[in-house]
């Protein structure tokens, strides 16, 4: 339930209102670092608890923090987010392309022209062909999985009778399928301009071009699944070691400042130390043992006060709202009774759990749905759950929960028996915090007579819960928008074609009406009308309680005394890693 476990930190195009809604950039650092001049050299070190990054293959990265990290140092994309503080950080700027994309044909055709002088780390100049090949890889979902799959449904490639694209990637497609792909993604004669043909109008297609899923890859260097271990660099750093304990990157001699308007590579080396104990990381930061290090995952709840109440860390910390809505997905197939799902919501002790995670200062606020307030245009309190709804009480509304259980007793007796006698099973990720959250949860649900059991998963959490055969009754998860449109939230989470439909809700009688409306919303080009529809759909999903919404998250970062120019970068909800320099 901590943001470090959330699936992806995603993009939020900040408008002024998004900043008002709680994005607090710690001012001290910006002011302090503005006075100093950038320094080159040194080793920028990140301390990480997890044993590795989820992915490094540009076509497969989807976790926001990893995206921000790899795109800052290693992988260049056609367009990029501008690495500057404040709302301007969410603006697109050209990166490998000379523009941010030129739409035509009612945004069904998108053109990007490549910048000259760009090279891979082996010295091969980057051409349109490389981008075309890179883009094709995501279609091979059997090998290149886990990345964003928008291209599969958006590119104008014929579909088979099941609605799947006939193109299955560069590794084993037929000639006809490859030709269909090459038609949808084509290169100009001079090999400098790439054109995407879409099957519908996508006005914000160029935001997808900030993801590595559209980026240059050399066919002869593509090792399929293994490309993940050592992808070719296009940015200022290349990987020289990727072991079980660390990822080490050094300067890429083939990169030239002249061809890259975005990146300013200050340190000589960038290193991630993997698999460190969380308490050890916090102690290193507290004692400033490695002054050029940064905490890659945020401090433990029990140590947050030490960092955030002590003035000595004033220039070494930040605390921001992150773009996640955190929730517990019901497996609706296993829990078809609406009343019981609602009773679970009302008997949960949201206050105790939020306080446990650090309270409103560090853990965020009670969620009102799955669309985060940071997706400013599409957010409105649903008034169905969370603050603003009639029955919401932070510590749980037991009267309401009991009434719902009574209703369930007659309406769905089998499910009632399961909830009260056999127990409802929750999938959770193995963590030391379970020692505390399990007792808190068991006591809370017991107030309404609900019994809960736990399926503690040590490894492969998402692959287990994403598998309908293995998911138990409820699974904790979190989701952030890929960019500032709830079209990257509602369909992804709840539609049958979505990538993250944990809720198994398609057999719910309430589902049909929902999906029809989702399809209409997807086609709506009037952004204001579309926003209204997303808000309604958010409320609808909450009424059906397909997921149990918990919090809109916050995230903290801590760094050592030698690091300068650390500021919050809105798009992925992280520091702008590439702008940090080491004073020594």
């Amino acid at each position: 339930m901590s943001p470090r476990y959330a699936l992806r930190r995603a993009v939020v195009v900040a408008s002024a209102s998004a900043l008002l809604l709680g994005t607090v950039v710690v001012a001290g650092t910006n002011a302090a670092s503005a006075a100093t001049t950038p320094k080159t050299g040194g080793i920028l070190t990140f301390l990480e608890h997890e044993p590795r990054l989820d992915h490094m293959d540009p076509s497969r990265i989807y976790t926001g923090r990893d995206l921000a990290f790899m795109n800052s140092f290693h992988t260049r994309t056609l367009v990029a987010y501008n690495p500057v503080p404040g709302a301007a950080g969410a603006n697109l700027v050209p990166d490998l392309a000379t523009n941010t994309g030129v739409p035509s044909n009612a945004a069904k055709t998108w053109k990007f022209t490549l910048r000259p002088g760009t090279k891979f780390e082996d010295g091969v100049p980057i051409t349109c062909e490389h981008v075309q090949y890179g883009t094709s890889r995501v279609f091979a979902q059997d090998v290149i999985n886990n990345g964003p799959t928008y291209l599969l449904s958006w590119l104008d490639i014929p579909k088979d009778k099941d609605g799947n694209s006939i193109y299955v990637g560069p590794y084993k497609s037929t000639k006809e399928a490859q030709a269909a792909f090459n038609k949808a993604v084509s290169c100009s004669k001079d090999n400098r301009t790439i054109t995407f043909q879409l099957n519908k109008s996508i006005a914000d297609f160029n935001y997808l071009a900030t993801y590595g899923v559209i980026s240059p890859i050399q066919k002869k260097k593509d090792t399929g699944d293994k490309y993940d271990l050592n992808p070719q660099a296009t940015g200022p750093y290349k990987i020289v070691e990727n072991s079980k304990t660390q990822l080490r990157m050094v300067r890429n001699a083939q990169w030239s400042k002249a061809s890259d308007p975005v990146r300013t590579p200050y340190p000589d080396e960038v290193v991630i130390q993997f698999g460190l104990d969380e308490e050890v990381i916090d102690q290193i930061m507290l004692e400033d043992t490695i002054p050029s290090a940064m905490n890659f995952g945020g401090p433990l709840p029990s140590n947050k006060d030490k960092f955030f109440t002590d003035a000595k860390f004033k220039n070494r910390r930040m605390n921001n709202s992150d773009p996640y809505a955190i929730y517990i997905a019901f497996n609706v197939k296993a829990m078809p009774c609406l009343e019981i799902r609602q009773a679970m919501y009302y008997s949960r002790d949201a206050k105790a759990l939020l306080d446990y995670a650090g309270g409103p200062d560090y853990a965020g606020s009670y969620a009102t749905g799955v669309i985060s307030p940071l997706v400013a245009a599409d957010y409105a309190p649903t008034k169905v759950v969370g603050p603003g709804s009639p029955d919401f009480k932070p510590e749980g509304n037991i009267v309401k929960a009991k009434a719902l259980m009574d209703a369930a007793k007659t309406k769905c007796p089998a499910d009632y028996k399961k909830a009260t006698e056999d127990g409802i099973t929750l999938d959770v990720r193995q963590s030391v915090t379970l020692n505390d959250t399990i007792p808190i949860n068991e006591a809370a649900y017991a107030r309404a007579g609900i019994k809960v059991k736990w399926n503690i998963i040590s490894a492969g959490y998402y692959s287990t819960v994403m598998n309908p055969a293995k998911q138990k009754d409820m699974s904790a998860s979190g989701w952030g928008a890929d960019w500032a449109n709830a079209s990257t939230v509602i369909p992804e989470l709840f539609a049958s074609f979505g990538g993250f439909n944990l809720s198994q809700n398609t057999e719910d009688p309430a589902y049909k009406a929902f999906e029809d409306k989702v399809n209409i919303a997807m086609k709506t080009t009037d952004r204001k009308k579309q926003a209204v529809m997303w808000k309604e759909l958010d409320a609808y999903a909450m009424k059906q309680m397909w997921v149990l919404p918990t919090t809109f998250g916050k995230a903290q970062e801590i760094w050592g005394s030698q690091l300068a120019n650390v500021f919050f970068w809105v798009p992925q909800g992280n520091p702008a890693y590439g702008k940090i320099w080491v004073n020594n």
């Binding site: 140590n303 105790a352 030391v432 399990i438 040590s458």
Partner: protein
């Protein structure tokens, strides 16, 4: 180090104490020796006290008015540290409360140690029984029997037990639950005991075998053989009494060893699951708060240290008392 005088005093004492020569069984001799060891007696007292506290945890908790499952969330600050009335020790919470949830530490320790003791004692007993038997058979009969048994123990010892436990934990616990033998934590405890003893006995067996191997070459065994003693007699009367000393030392150390392995499995999330508590769960929880609330850590660790220490001192005293040639 004057062995002679000590041995003599043993022999002399009863004679000079009473004019009529009263025969004493080895057990009586051992007991009288044990009684004289003050440290051992104190340790035995503490061990029995702690074991019964943990055995009767529900009654003890009722008497003290504490409950292991009561949460006290209101008195915790945003880091989960108890404040106000909850901070420190009080009549309601003799050892204070656990940060994060505000549950009573003493009650949690009492209930938690029950599971830990159960795992450690049952595992040691099972592993030792098998190991003792196999070790004696192998060491005494040697030749082909020993060869086969030795290869089998070698095979088990060469087995990566730890990884097997990690890999098999989930499916085996499922299996145990499906057969309806035990459920939830019960099944996990059963699995741990079975697997730890299955992979634990070869260690005991090798040790016993090595002792038997050198014992059976000794003069008194050769003498017994020469006198035509039966195998049974040689094993039971000549070998087994001489095995007590190493066995007691190993038991008094492997018991805490199994307490520690329970802790490690809990730490890795493979053992007993919360909300149940064990020493391992409490310790792994306490390490998270070691810098912000050291008392939680110190009390939990100290309770474990006291138990281990007491067990070992009892083991020492027992060894000294049982050893027929010991100088005391």
């Amino acid at each position: 180090m004057s062995i002679n005088s000590a041995t003599n005093s043993e022999v002399d004492a009863p004679i000079s104490a009473s004019p009529a020569i009263a025969g004493r069984s080895p057990r009586q001799i051992a007991w009288s020796r044990f009684k004289r060891n003050k440290v051992g007696m104190a340790a035995a007292g503490i061990s029995i006290f702690l074991l019964s506290m943990s055995l009767f945890a529900p009654i003890v908790c009722r008497l003290l008015g504490i409950n292991p499952n009561d949460l006290n969330l209101e008195g915790l600050n945003s880091s989960g540290i108890p404040t106000g009335d909850l901070a420190g020790f009080s009549r309601e919470h003799p050892l204070g409360v656990i940060p994060g949830t505000g549950r009573d530490l003493l009650a949690q320790l009492l209930y938690g140690s029950r599971i830990s003791f159960m795992i450690a004692i049952l595992t040691t007993a099972t592993a030792l029984t098998i190991g003792f038997f196999v070790g004696i058979v192998g060491g005494y009969f040697r030749g082909r029997v020993d060869g086969y048994l030795g290869r089998f123990t070698d095979f088990l010892l060469a087995f990566p037990a730890f990884f097997m436990i990690v890999a098999l934990s989930e499916p085996m616990v499922d299996r145990i639950e499906k057969f309806g033998i035990a459920e939830g934590n019960g099944a996990r405890v059963l699995f741990l005991i079975l697997f730890l003893s299955f992979f634990g006995w070869p260690g005991f067996s090798r040790l016993i075998r090595s002792q038997v191997l050198s014992l059976r070459e000794r003069e008194f065994v050769t003498a017994a053989q020469a006198m035509g003693a039966t195998r049974r007699r040689i094993i039971l009367k000549e070998l087994v009494p001489n095995l007590w000393a190493p066995v007691i030392v190993v038991v008094s150390l492997s018991l805490p060893g199994y307490l520690a392995s329970e802790a490690v499995f809990s730490f890795l999330g493979l053992g007993v699951q919360p909300p149940a508590s064990t020493w391992g769960i409490l310790l792994s929880n306490a390490t998270r708060f070691v810098t912000v609330m050291p008392s939680f850590f110190l009390i939990t660790a100290a309770s474990l240290v006291i138990v281990v220490l007491a067990f070992n001192l009892v083991g020492d005293a027992l060894r000294d008392a049982l050893d027929p040639r010991a100088d005391k």
